[in-house]
Symmetry: C2
Subunit: 287 residues, 2 copies
Amino acid sequence: MNEKQWIEYLKKHVSCFEDVIGIGDDSAVLPDGTLISTDTFVEEIHFSRKWASWRLIGRKACEATISDIAAMGGKPLWLLANLSSSESGGVADELLHGILECGIPLIGGDTTSSQKGAVTLTLTVLGKTERPVLRSGAKTGDRIFVSGKLGGTQAGLLSLQKGLNLFECEKRFLEPRARLDISESWGALATSMIDVSDGLSTELNHLSEASKKRFRIDISKLPCFSEIEKTGREAAELILESGEEFELLATSNFNLPGGFEIGVVEDGHGVYDGLNEILPRGYDHWS
Amino acid sequence: MNEKQWIEYLKKHVSCFEDVIGIGDDSAVLPDGTLISTDTFVEEIHFSRKWASWRLIGRKACEATISDIAAMGGKPLWLLANLSSSESGGVADELLHGILECGIPLIGGDTTSSQKGAVTLTLTVLGKTERPVLRSGAKTGDRIFVSGKLGGTQAGLLSLQKGLNLFECEKRFLEPRARLDISESWGALATSMIDVSDGLSTELNHLSEASKKRFRIDISKLPCFSEIEKTGREAAELILESGEEFELLATSNFNLPGGFEIGVVEDGHGVYDGLNEILPRGYDHWS
């Protein structure tokens, strides 16, 4: 069962509530506008000590988690951290420092032993919004925006692996930031929104599927890190699959402040650049 | 760093909020009365497939988690489930069935791969109460109550290990239930409350320390499973250390309905039976 199948499975089995927006969006939305989202990070699956300190790993995990609140147009308010580790002391201490750096108050959590060498961190974030932006609201004629340059995470990992010294991209890989600076202003204007955590091609398909619309984008308009040319990879390909960017992808019939316009919403289905269909091809670049 | 040290560490570092009851109680309490609690369960640390199906493991984990809401006098409303597993399909499916049996709507979660053989389940529960009952409210002269028979979990595990056929206790070990049936009525009357997840001796000490009072109990009054005599263990000892009972332990100057009165709150500190001090000695009986 992959993640998509699991979500489909959950949707089928979990239908006993009608006043909550639950499984399938970036965060669940409770009747009072509370947002809640949770992410699990497993050593050597989601992160590696090869590239980053525990502090950076904690910070990145935290940014990834609060990015799900940003993706709904919300403001993160409280955090819980669960840690399983076979080591005591240092790991927890350093991870915690990274988490606290995000500035969201930590109000609870759990700590347990784990089997040797398998550190698992689960973060849960509570937030609030008066207008949750779902994936399903894109309208025909809306324009499609992305909030910043893409491709940096994947290029940064390649740079570290090959010793390319692409420092801007390495920083993006190691120290990405959730777009809390714009999430509320975009949330007030957007018809649909998501964060680029699984790669732009995947996220475009998520919005297109949930909104039942065709997304027509112009690949030549995608904003990207200039350093990615030096990776030897084809730029457009790398931009489309680079995950953990945590930029926002949104549709709106307004100009989204600071956004890069990359396409338009049409009747139909699928994601296209001209005649070429863009299929989801993101994968987990943190592994 | 053990759990107590970690909690102390967190308390020291996490002081940037004043309107939340955070780390140190069974659940965090948000300004609007929302309760939130989270627990992590690791294979071969908190549970073993030797005694239980994935469905029973999921159900027990769920009862343990919602018991933290019961311990605050609250009502559990929503649940999130995070699963890390190296196997696909069956484990998630069966665990989910156990979780759904608890009857609390599942509104989110995460699923990830894990290293081989290390299934990790994190459950997060949101609840509500108008009157959160903390650990720190016991008053001199209050009486001490426990909501049901104790010792069954530990006796049940011994029974399974030794083939003693103590079926009532085995059922308690495999299928404990959070006391949602009484949590709200006790919550309206109690001055302090906790659930017996780490053993009665440990929980009594938690209340005594948080309330800065002496807890004087009468060990001969502790309600227990009759089968525990057949384990060969000294009954009082086993009752005091048996965890994962999920009965409620509370103080009040009212009669708590259905409760067993086991002692009284006095000025001073520590937990005593006559002149004998009762030190915390619970441990994780699920391992």
